[in-house]
């Protein structure tokens, strides 16, 4: 029996404001609140709110046979909490149906997996905590930023106790193999991998409203027939896409909502079920190992990480950012911690991509890559100054860590001694 694993990514970058050289040292607020609110509100109105309502209706209409998974970054959750809290309410309602699974990822939708294991772990833990707080369940399956995966990342994820992970069904991972099976990692066999079916996912994401596509128009009937026509043994169809596909990338007037409304009915008629990633992991057995010596992602024609780390500008920015990471870990200042997360959002680096040169990167608020880079570096430069101002730079990180531990322990010791003292005093009084 075939099953569809439907999963949506919800993420929006925290856009930076125009930050001039003159602002360095005097202005420590980096974000373009107006455009962040404006864009998020727009997407929520066109997409999130409508899609939430639609999915809820579908789950109710099919008595829990329709299932779906979400991965929501911490960065977008924090923005939604401020600007569109009703979107979070919608997700909470979905969570209560029991047919929706929330996945784990890095809090800041960051590239920390490529640069710092400590930071990566911390962000994943923070994110899991946030998800549990909002939706009541600790996430069990991991999904990395933009589906970035390599053997090394797989090992890290497995070490953190995850049994399954989602990634791209990229050609260079699979070779002749089909993405429609469950696999496991070659270096950590305990980690099962769900691979995105690139063709079917992108038929919906990108080609749905494309008049020049030979299969236009795409109907639910036709789509399910394609899935049904797959060989009997191919049991798992992973449809992973952005939540914005519903209503924003594919506007409502393309009929995208009607397509999704009809999808479960046609699928269930053909005895194709829906599953969440956790259910898939329980139901199916891995058929083979997947090896990924180099990181892959779901981005671009190359399906690699070149959209974020492809050129000198991006590598310089990332290097400078993660160089300060250890120091930030030691800081206790809440604003620094918050900025640290927001500055890691992967989109900042995508805006610096020169793949589409001389024009700007997709959805970039900047004129071109150089503009994005200069602005980001100005912000980062102010941030680095703030971090360095916390503790004297002359003390190296290890020494500082030792000192801080001593100081913190001192507090504990004092507290303990004081409580002992009061106890003894009470005793004496008695």
């Amino acid at each position: 029996m075939k099953t569809i694993c439907l999963y949506f990514q919800i993420h929006q970058p925290v856009r930076l404001k125009r930050y001039r050289f003159f602002d360095i040292g005097s202005d420590h607020y980096y974000y373009d609140d107006f455009s962040n609110e404006d864009i998020l509100r727009g997407i929520a109105d066109r997409s999130f709110l409508r899609a939430n309502a639609m999915l809820l209706d579908l789950i109710n209409a099919h008595n829990g046979k329709f299932k779906v998974a979400f991965s929501v970054s911490g960065a977008v959750l924090e923005q939604l909490e401020i600007y569109v809290p009703e979107a979070i309410d919608g997700l909470k309602e979905l969570a209560q149906t029991g047919c929706v699974e929330f996945l784990s990822e890095t809090y800041g939708h960051s590239l920390s997996c490529l640069y710092s294991e400590d930071e990566f772990k911390k962000q994943v833990e923070d994110h899991a905590e946030k998800i549990e707080l909002l939706f009541g369940k600790k996430p069990k399956v991991f999904r990395n930023t933009e589906l970035i995966y390599s053997d090394e990342i797989g090992d890290m994820v497995h070490r953190m106790g995850y049994k399954g992970m989602l990634t791209e069904g990229a050609k260079h991972l699979l070779g002749w193999k089909s993405p429609n099976y469950l696999y496991n990692s070659v270096s950590s066999p305990g980690l099962k991998l769900l691979l995105r079916n690139m063709k079917f996912s992108e038929d919906i994401m990108f080609r749905f409203s494309n008049y020049s596509w030979s299969d236009y128009p795409l109907t639910a009937d036709k789509f399910i027939n394609w899935i049904n026509a797959l060989p009997e043994s191919e049991q798992l169809i992973n449809l992973f896409m952005n939540y914005e596909t519903l209503g924003s990338v594919q506007p409502a007037d393309t009929g995208i909502f009607e397509f999704f409304k009809a999808l479960p009915k046609f699928a269930l008629d053909k005895a194709i079920s829906f599953s969440t990633p956790s259910e898939v992991l329980n139901k199916l057995k891995p058929v083979d190992k997947i090896s990924a010596p180099y990181p892959c992602s779901w981005s671009g024609e190359e399906r690699d990480t070149s959209a974020w780390t492809g050129n000198t500008l991006q590598r310089e920015a990332l290097k400078k950012l993660y160089n300060i990471g250890e120091r930030v870990m030691l800081c206790a200042d809440r604003r620094i911690k918050q900025d640290w997360i927001y500055l890691q959002v992967s989109d900042h680096f995508r805006f610096m991509s020169t793949k589409y040169f001389p024009g700007p990167s997709v959805y970039s608020p900047y004129e071109n890559a150089y503009d994005a880079f200069s602005n980001y570096m100005n912000v980062l430069s102010d941030f680095i100054t703030r971090v360095n101002a916390q503790y004297p730079i002359s003390i190296d990180n290890e020494e500082l860590n030792a000192l801080l531990t001593t100081i913190r322990n001192q507090e504990n010791t004092i507290a303990k001694l004081e409580s002992d003292l009061t106890k003894l005093k009470k005793k004496k009084a008695v």
């Binding site: 500008l313 200069s374 570096m377 100005n378 430069s381």
Partner: protein, 419 residues
């Protein structure tokens, strides 16, 4: 004495140093009581300071006779000139220019910038110069930079008055040697037929003599000067937010200005010390290349780009700086280090710039000598005594470089060619 000057830029709407120099020089010359200057530019904006000279816009000069009422003329040109001037100019149309693309007033449009069809605009400008030359009385013609040489020559042919051309830059400076033959031809023609050539530095004078084959007797250097800062600008405060020292490059980011030497020197300074930031202010066709270079040298967190700065922002930038650097590969004069020194900012300038000939309290280096440049930057930011010395002595020195003196030299040249 009456002078008819042809220029291309005039403050406040300027694109480069030419406008600043034109303004300073005319203002300095106007201090001579009997000096009367008429200044022609392609397109006035109406907010130019006309208290010491008269501005005529080429775009406001009729080439085709049109019957227009005084009210309409006043409405259209009142901002720029006396409506009567329009009729005077109209009376001096000397040929049939109906083939040109003129409007209802018989005038042609000028961008007043450096557009792609620059040569066409230069040609139109010299046609208009014919009308202006016929309708004005003057003793001498003075053309600023190659764009206006054809106009000056035209005026000379019509009136027989002597022509002085003022070389603010040559194409050898702008192109690092790869001259555009058409520009060279216009420059050479202007120099060959001028009665006297004024250059802004000995560096330029040598180029004019060697590359344009001019008789050294015909070429005189009159160094540029600098306007005293207005109280408004004096009052601008530093906007520097960081504790770090700031080293600034300010100008067009183009080949002529040698921006890459600044980046390389910055990388060397940052290896030695951490409490310094570098700013590259301005824009230009090498900006992206410089951003990439800074990233390659791993100094992007300490190396900042501001984009194009205008008006007051320039002074904000200067006042926020601790060192000013001009590593130009070939700079005919370069007024900006003088402006930096007025703001009390020590300057490092390349020996290949004209202003190096007259400045003593600035550090001079070959533009390619990045080691020396880095060394100088490091010394100024590290040793307070050096900073203070250059700051105070530089200020004293620059206060003595006045346009008034430059104006007197030009006057002497006028008198010698009129003999």
């Amino acid at each position: 004495m009456k002078a008819l000057m042809f220029g291309w830029e005039f403050p406040p709407h300027i694109l480069g140093g030419l406008g600043t120099a034109s303004y300073g020089l005319t203002k300095g010359m106007a201090m001579q009581p009997d000096m009367d200057i008429t200044f022609v530019i392609p397109k006035p904006w109406g907010d130019e300071d006309q208290s010491f000279l008269k501005i005529i816009g080429s775009c406001n000069t009729p080439l085709v006779w049109k019957d227009v009422s005084p009210e309409k003329v006043r409405e259209r040109f009142g901002k720029y000139m006396d409506p009567q001037d329009y009729y005077t100019l109209r009376d001096h149309i000397y040929s049939d220019f109906r083939y040109l693309n003129t409007n209802e007033f018989g005038t042609i449009e000028f961008s007043g910038r450096y557009p792609d069809n620059l040569l066409e605009e230069i040609n139109n400008y010299s046609i208009v110069a014919g009308v202006i030359a016929r309708s004005n009385n003057f003793d001498i013609i003075h053309s600023h930079d190659w764009l206006t040489y054809p106009a000056g020559l035209h005026a000379k042919t019509i009136t027989g008055k002597p022509l002085v051309i003022h070389v603010h830059a040559t194409d050898f400076d702008r192109s690092r040697g790869n001259v555009n033959p058409r520009v060279y031809a216009i420059e050479k023609d202007g120099m060959d037929n001028a009665d006297h050539i004024i250059t802004v530095s000995n560096l330029t004078r040598n180029i004019v003599i060697e590359k344009y084959h001019q008789d050294p007797k015909k070429v005189t250097t009159v160094h540029n000067a600098v306007e005293p800062l207005s109280p408004e600008i004096e009052a601008i405060q530093s906007k520097k937010g960081t504790k770090d020292k700031v080293i600034t490059f300010l100008g067009r980011i183009t080949m002529q200005k040698g921006p890459e030497y600044f980046v390389e020197a910055a990388a060397r300074v940052l290896k030695k010390t951490d409490n310094v930031r570098f700013v590259m202010a301005g824009s230009g066709d090498m900006m992206n290349q410089m951003i990439r270079l800074a990233a390659q040298r791993n100094i992007a967190d300490k190396f900042h780009f501001t984009g194009f700065l205008k008006g007051k922002q320039v002074y904000e930038m200067l006042k926020s700086s601790d060192v000013y650097v001009m590593p130009s590969v070939s700079e005919p004069f370069g007024i900006s280090p003088l402006e930096a020194m007025q703001c009390g900012v020590p300057s490092i300038i390349s020996k290949q710039s004209g202003c190096a000939e007259i400045l003593t309290n600035a550090i001079k280096t070959d533009y390619w000598d990045i080691e020396y440049m880095a060394d100088a930057m490091y010394s100024i930011i590290t040793y307070p005594s050096m900073f203070e010395y250059l700051k105070e002595e530089g200020l004293k020195e620059v206060n003595e470089i006045k346009w008034e003196y430059a104006g007197q030299k030009v006057r002497k040249i006028y008198e010698s060619v009129m003999k």
